[in-house]
Symmetry: C2
Subunit: 140 residues, 2 copies
């Protein structure tokens, strides 16, 4: 059920890192594969660290943090702070919003076109909007 050419996924990820101006080191490549191999994901540093360990990818937690921040600064990821206890990194960097399951801490994307904000007051002091986040908090 998996592609027969195991390096196919690598090539894309490798190019993505290069294009972003990030050296494709063994660790970054492995982490990027975990992050971008399949559809969009929301991961914490700890989660990614554990996934890496599970796949016997040798990375330190500090390197996971470094990679996540490097990726974020190059717009390969978006950082989300919903719960003050820890940050999530979202592989979907496009315009979209989130459902947040309060009890489990899980996040789910809401496509931008599914939410329409009909009115917004002008930012005070003529400030520019960097982005608008809509978080729909769910009880269940």
């Amino acid at each position: 059920m998996r592609p027969k050419i195991p390096s196919a996924g690598n090539v894309t990820v490798l190019e993505r890192l290069r294009d972003a101006g990030l050296r494709p080191t063994r660790q970054r490549l492995a982490l990027a594969k975990l992050l971008f191999a399949r559809g969009h994901r929301h991961v914490s540093a700890e989660q990614l660290f554990n996934e890496a360990k599970a796949q016997r990818v040798d990375v330190s937690l500090a390197t996971v943090y470094n990679a996540l921040h490097d990726f974020t600064s190059k717009d390969l990821l978006r950082e989300i702070s919903i719960d003050s206890s820890s940050s999530y990194f979202d592989t979907n960097t496009g315009d979209h919003h989130h459902f947040y399951f309060e009890q489990s801490g899980r996040l789910e994307d809401i496509a931008a076109h599914q939410v329409s904000i009909a009115a917004l007051p002008a930012p005070p002091g003529g400030a520019k909007i960097s982005r608008v986040d809509v978080i729909v908090r769910l009880k269940g």
Copy 2:
């Protein structure tokens, strides 16, 4: 420019605590006064702690955290996590949203009626919406 009866503010705050089922102790009263005396505010635990110190109100940081959480659980405050580094507590517990000044970390309220969300997808799994937060992040 101030009311002539200095205890007037106290009485209200005292009642507010009592009504919420919280013992109006010296510390809670002092903190509540700092929080609710004038219009709506967004404060961090550290900020409130410093204000208290500045006014020679003797409270420990742990008590500030306790009080903030007690107030939050009784709906006198709302907790906001925007920046993973620390939490803010908002004295406005009604339906409203926020401007967030990324550089300064300051928050400003947006009245609920100034934002209209025209469409929202149904929550997955029939979950109930606990609330919808709109955060408008500002560059400047």
